[in-house]
Symmetry: C2
Subunit: 351 residues, 2 copies
Amino acid sequence: MSTSRIRKEVDAALLAFVDRQRPALLAISPDLAPMLAALDALLTGGKRLRPAFCYWGWHAAGGRDRRDGIVAAAASLELLQASALIHDDVMDSSDTRRGQPSVHRRFQSLAREQDWSGATETFGEGTAILLGDLCLAWSSEMYETSGVDGEHIARGREVYNLMRTEVMCGQYLDLLEGVRGSGTVEAALRVVEFKSAKYTIERPLHLGAALAGGTPEVTAALREYGRPLGIAFQLRDDVLGVFGDPAETGKPAGDDLREGKRTVLIAQTLERASPAQAAVLERLLGDPGLDRAGVDELREIIEGTGGLAACEAMIDRYAENAAKALGDASISGESRIALEELAVAATTRQA
Amino acid sequence: MSTSRIRKEVDAALLAFVDRQRPALLAISPDLAPMLAALDALLTGGKRLRPAFCYWGWHAAGGRDRRDGIVAAAASLELLQASALIHDDVMDSSDTRRGQPSVHRRFQSLAREQDWSGATETFGEGTAILLGDLCLAWSSEMYETSGVDGEHIARGREVYNLMRTEVMCGQYLDLLEGVRGSGTVEAALRVVEFKSAKYTIERPLHLGAALAGGTPEVTAALREYGRPLGIAFQLRDDVLGVFGDPAETGKPAGDDLREGKRTVLIAQTLERASPAQAAVLERLLGDPGLDRAGVDELREIIEGTGGLAACEAMIDRYAENAAKALGDASISGESRIALEELAVAATTRQA
């Protein structure tokens, strides 16, 4: 079973779940069709990283003989992620997601096109909050109704609950750093750990291991591999948010700079910046009207100070630690190959 | 077991659940303390109607011999409601909730007091979105870990899932009516049905019956009682939103008018208004700066046209239908008395 084959199965499971909900929603009111259309559009994109780590964690932990429901349980993480993305975009006022208008922008446009009289901005944001809530509710519904047997679902549920609390707390700490602006590498790394690293890689692996009823040893080994890989993944994402190709990231160039994200990359840059460079960075970072020249100026500072090189060195170190942990783990050849492949996908220089 | 005794048990179960989460959050970071404080403050208030209907539905459906976990399962509805309130207040830009600052306002104040440099408004709203998400995640966690046995939890989960989808869809339809402004009694009633009536009364009773493993007959009878009572409850809430005493409602006088809510009361008024009255109503309704004189002018129109009387007549009719359905139900005397008491609490002229 290859990683691309699992990806297709995850896509099919997601579609099947939403298709089961569709008639119930339209029975409440045909006016709910735009909500479903927005969700369909959002679910078309994405790398399905979290379901993949969950599936291969399950596989590596010895679950491969009881396959019932595991793909649907893993795919439910994609609905949790959809919820996080929709709400993130409201919080950050992002215009785009996965190369398309963000959900709140989509509904603002709908209201304008239909010439509705009320406040279109409020309508867009309110709808996005509700669709994110629906995705969050549906993620647990999809998990619970996946078809995995009750004993393993219950074991996994503990990890699922922990993961949700961690990611929401991590997001709060991220917002807090944004307004408080302590700007240290340490504070930025704490956000990375909870908002992203655990949520994207360590906990999905952990969940998979729990769903397989894996031993404490294999569970610990998978988490040992997942923890540094998760950090490397987010640091790569931060670099791509500044230097990535919009065609690959699905976001305009320098969008993270416009949003003023206090990433490890920025903290590494500030640690190395001259007072003049730091002043430019503090002035331009978070400017919603930042143009191409401003993006270039910031990129030069981030590269020139050595901030970028320091961040790349961190990525290499964390990725090496992950590879070493994977090498030490007692798992089958098939899952090892898949997890090596996923490690590359999570930290590659393309989005 | 009286309704006030159950209320105290629900309060204790909620506190115990949050107290179990508290150390885990503070271990992630002491910076999460304000999130917990905001939740503690919000959970202090509220009438606990949904847990009460769930508990007494369970009781009426014959669950009273296996009491393990039922109070915690019922109390989890209060976390779902906390999520809805926090997100509602962001969507409506409400300043107050249960007589205190709304969550987003609370965090805006915190950021200002701490003199944080970033955008305080965005921080407040972002935090409220996240705390609402956390409450939504915790509601299902509290339900699943309530201690009710697996078979009954699974039966109830189907109702729980349906209820969450319905309330979120109902909220979208409410937003949609707000911007589209069709203004008919029929459209307003459809919002009432899904956003409020089913969610507050019919489904909590249904959930309780499922958790008790009740017969189809008693389940149907409870829902028959809950459906009209839920509508009467929301119509009463709409009247209180315009005419209620701020000391009782925990909201400034006329707040629903300032928010421009398209309630059944407003639709009933518009159906009866002269062109001049309708013009005043359309001009003043939804004006965020509406002062006391404007509130009084709108109140006079709502009373003068007979809109208020029409709405009161609807409340009486729905409440009578509920009472008749309860009278016909084959349930024990103790649960009948409790459900009669709850019907009064849900439709009384005080908030």
